[in-house]
Symmetry: D2
Subunit: 389 residues, 4 copies
């Protein structure tokens, strides 16, 4: 009978995922944002929802903030509130895509005044990080162009390097800068940080505390994402994950929903490359939009998906695999990998939860908890939070 090894069990007990505050707010496509009842009206309510996910799953370490969306009068109060609810305040995400000034770019803009504004915004984020105790400043840029010739890509790349250098010089000794790349959207001709190579080249020029953020939805069709995970771990430059899943573009669906086998392969490479070791500095975050499904259970489903696939990865018989690989046994090596993937770990994880005093089925526990009904009832009036709210 399949069981977890002590080492595997230890990884599963330590595993923590960071939830994005914005996943609890309304979101949508360019065609429509559908509002839902019970949506948080301020960062405190977002943290409360994230904490509820953590209470039921034991898998939530922190809440990632988006600034200025999650601006509060006194960040220290939010921090205390979070800690009381069992979660930390995590990565601070800057936002240089929703002000009119940023229409043609921010850190890579050809306009010095716009770059200044965007750099100063990051300084404000760093100030916030000191107050929230956050380690990571995550930079995702909407910068790019829609038409060939619109802007000089080379000049922009140099501007970007200079802007990042200024921001990097400001972060604290215990802080890190993580630079996210994205294939396209919202820019439709070129994006200033379109691929891991660009992010890697840019952060390598900065220093040791500058790293790459890999969003699983930000690649060209067909890209072997686990290869990039392997490579960034090998180069010592994988800072964090933004987990989600996609069928087409940056669909921001629930992680593991579109291609569970891909998620498994990514987590196998994480294990292979040391990302689950105790001293690993890799941050595992979600970055998702729940446009048509309820937000809290969607986040529960997401962390469970990561947990289940991690568990499968941990069942991989590494020594048998290595032996088959070194013998050139193509079918044999593949079969060993697939065996781990096809094992149904759900009963094992239910046992593990029970042993940790957690509900064996967190989805059912939430559905019967009355939490949703309560917030649907209470969160009336005020301004629902959404993208930009």
């Amino acid at each position: 009978m399949t069981t977890f090894s002590p080492a595997a069990r230890s990884v599963l007990e330590r595993q923590r995922i960071e939830l994005p505050s914005w996943a609890f707010g309304n979101s949508g496509t360019r065609f429509r944002v559908f509002g839902q009842p019970g949506i948080p009206r301020d960062p405190f309510e977002k943290v409360a929802d994230a904490a509820e996910v953590g209470r039921l799953t034991g898998l939530v370490g922190a809440v990632a903030l988006h600034y200025p969306w999650d601006r509060v009068e006194d960040p220290a109060t939010l921090r205390s509130f979070a800690l009381e609810h069992g979660v930390a305040l995590g990565t601070v995400n800057s936002n240089t895509f929703q002000d009119d000034e940023y229409m043609l770019g921010s850190l890579a803009s050809t306009d010095a005044a716009v770059r200044r504004r965007a750099i100063d915004h990051h300084f404000a984020c760093i100030d916030l990080m000191h107050a929230t105790g956050s380690r990571d400043l995550k930079i995702w840029l909407a910068d790019g162009t829609n038409y060939p010739g619109q802007s000089d890509m080379r000049e922009r790349q140099d501007h970007l390097a200079a802007s990042l250098a200024e921001i990097y010089s400001r972060i604290g000794e215990e802080q890190r800068l993580v630079l996210e790349y994205k294939f396209f959207e919202p820019a439709f001709y070129h994006t200033d940080v379109p691929d891991w190579g660009t992010s890697y080249a840019q952060v390598s020029a900065l220093g040791d505390r500058a790293l790459v953020c890999l969003d699983t939805g930000h690649h060209a069709p067909g890209t072997n994402i686990e290869f990039i995970v392997m490579q960034l771990l090998r180069l010592g430059k994988l800072g964090s994950f933004d987990f989600n899943s996609r069928f087409y573009a940056d669909d921001d669906l629930i992680v593991g929903a579109a291609d569970p086998f891909q998620l498994f392969r990514i987590l196998v490479e994480c294990l292979r490359g040391g990302a689950f070791e105790e001293d690993s500095q890799v941050a595992f975050m979600l970055d998702q939009c729940h446009n048509i499904e309820r937000k809290i259970p969607a986040q529960i489903r997401s962390v469970l998906n990561v947990q289940e696939m991690t568990a499968r990865a941990l069942l991989l018989d590494r020594s048998a695999l290595t032996a088959a690989q070194h013998e050139g046994d193509v079918l044999g090596a593949n079969a060993i990998l697939m065996d781990a993937f096809y094992t149904d770990v759900r009963p094992l994880l239910a046992d593990l939860r029970a042993a940790r005093g957690l509900p064996s089925d967190p989805m059912v526990a939430f559905a019967t908890s009355g939490y949703q009904e309560r917030v649907d009832r209470e969160r009336v009036g005020g301004q629902q939070s959404g993208w930009g709210a």
Copy 2:
């Protein structure tokens, strides 16, 4: 020296393109809609902007409406206004994606009440068409799902067929129903009309006045779009084009901006398949979003791009091409096609415009006309129109 044949000249003189009313309003991505000055505040102002494009280019036949975005108290007044400004009111586009009720679908929904609502909306569109003198009812559906298992695709397809049949039975003898397909977005797992095959199968079941609408941005990466143009013309089922261009997904950029050679090939197949003949019923429309560029010159640029590529297609030496093709002369046949593409038709078209009493360079004519400055000044107060406004 290159000149247009009389037949080519006739095509160019007759060529008319339909402009989308929504191209003059604000638009954007899910990340941000950037507002611009001078944006129309009602359908009359949109029609006025479209007419200005027509005045300068001689290329605008009609303005396509989006309902209920373009709802006016008295459609007959709008029609008169348009005709006075030299344009007709064209295709009526239904909208079943911005009401809360449509979150999980409209004509293909599993909920009978939702389908009823959506069908009734189309009846209202048909009523409007009688008032505006529009020939075509265009149906683009946001229907689809985000997660495998979310809904029963087969059941939805049958619901769609029944809904369309009910709508089709209501259109007038001189009216047509055109069904647009789209690869993905806003649904991210499945779309109920994802490809030309589905649209073709659905409209074939309806009757002769049901046709396919081909939006050039709605295909999978790498799709040979001109092949589909050829096939739909061959099958007698090409109802209309939604022109735009794209590098990645449904980017809705200016037609011809991303891949001018592709636009050329599409227009070559139009010519080959009879779509430019006098009795052709194919509607040539734009469907674009000008997120960061000014709206009116962007529309001028767009119709000029279609005109310039049509002119190149008309220069194609068809008999030499056929001869080379039948000889199996791969390089020779390709060279004949490329020769037409590489010919600079802009001076010829400037002459043609002069002969028609039009400005030889419509972009310059608009820039120096004062129109933009005037509307920027005048259109203050009221509600700017945008997607949904």
Copy 3:
């Protein structure tokens, strides 16, 4: 504890897959074909290998032939040989891509003599089918062009229609013509049957016994294949599957190896659409290349993958799913689907095999059978079969 319902068990007991004779021969990429020991030297040895897969799995119904690759002096003898070994001779695949005459096309060629040759080749295939007892004539065409303008796509489509009509008129009352489509390769600009819509339009023009063949590797990136399965079943035009899997293009990997969840979803739609019912006429075939792995175990692995995913599809709680779908319960409906996918059916299938007198683990049974060693030893001299051999 999970068990199969009687109906599910019946489907699993009846399930038969057709193996391609060419999967047992050498294959490769344009860069290199790597030879293996023990490769069949004639169609009899291919049939023997296929029968061995059937003996160990109980899943093989027939061997698909490729003509003229599988030409034998007396087809009746091959048929008897096959039946003695427990398999039938199945689909006959025509080949119009390996003769010099077909460099620029075959059934769609602009050259009447080439079309004549290609049509006559199909007549020879039909003659063969009468001798082998095959029901299906499968037509996959390499026809297409590499350069825009090289040939007239419209003219070719009409030629194709005429050629197919002539072939269709020749098949027997109990025979069927299935037309396969493919996105690209070996033609790199246009392909004459590039998508299901084209295949559907062409076979619909022929008659009831003309159907579409869906090869799972022949689509654009991101295509929702199960949607097409659903649609073709709904339209009554799904003739057969060519199963394989891919990460990029037409990679022809082992079915289920690249995206097991996709295979599951395809089989769920098969079940939904009646393709597993007793009177279903859908042929389930493999079409794969085992370039670097051993051929026979690769075929065993393949049929087991289809079986395992069929078993998961059969575990789907359809009534609970329908209820959740009709309630608009996005997460609930998805969870019901995922529950079936995540269930480990392997022990259940091992029991089923034991009950049928089959080895519980066919991969192990083959590895320990001595079959491979024997053929490696015996099949020396003569001409190994490969693509084209």
Copy 4:
């Protein structure tokens, strides 16, 4: 009237392109290699054909060799022969994909003996380079896997680094190592050098004379290739181009045939990044397969396409463009770029050729030269060269 500036004229006069020896041999897809008459039977005849392209176009600087395909008894004789014919011997391409030993990889193989063999092969290539006077050793690897789990990607990456270090230590002071990347094929799950980031990370670890080779057909669908050109030039790591074009995968069509506007944009970035300056070390090579068209005119067409697009890029009004870009004039900047692209440079280039004593239309000059007829007649008997021959 449009004319070239003296600087532009100088670039056009200096422009030289390297032709691949294998473009003159037979090639094809995995389905079929179609043979042609007049195909070279040894490297001398290949060089003669390349020289003929140069004689007619003035655009050929060197012939790239593939080893061991282009093995000759005495490389010095081949070098003299080439120089007498007006071309140099250029880049040496290693080949580690056609021997049985390389079935599961070469420089990245997990088998030390295989890696040894592959490294030694590169040593032999370096020896050859000393004899031929070649500057560049180009390494393209077929290394990769077809199935998840088949091999350990991380281990392979380390092996690759060690193998490359050994090879790099052997090249001469005036020589360079260029490492090509490729998205996929012939490996279908993972490729050991799949993207520019990996190639960049690997060559950066080696030293200044290790650079990246960019093959325009080796990217994921939708990739903005000119961005990569810009980035590699910015990082000082663009060693060479392998030009060709594609609609789908690595189609190896004539450069500029599939998307001429993309070729233009690439060459604009070359100009912007200094790749056309006198001291530039970027090698411009072709890497194409002429499967169905005649080889020599296809190569003439290819170098002309590069020349024509370079000429268009040189016509770009850079100062006007920069001004529009800095003003944020989206449509204006784009229009300046498009104006250069749409200018018909063919008459200007014909004049330039006449001034250089070259035929004004090299395609016509070749067709009427009798060269093809002569080699078709003379090159009978012996072994035609093809991929691997």
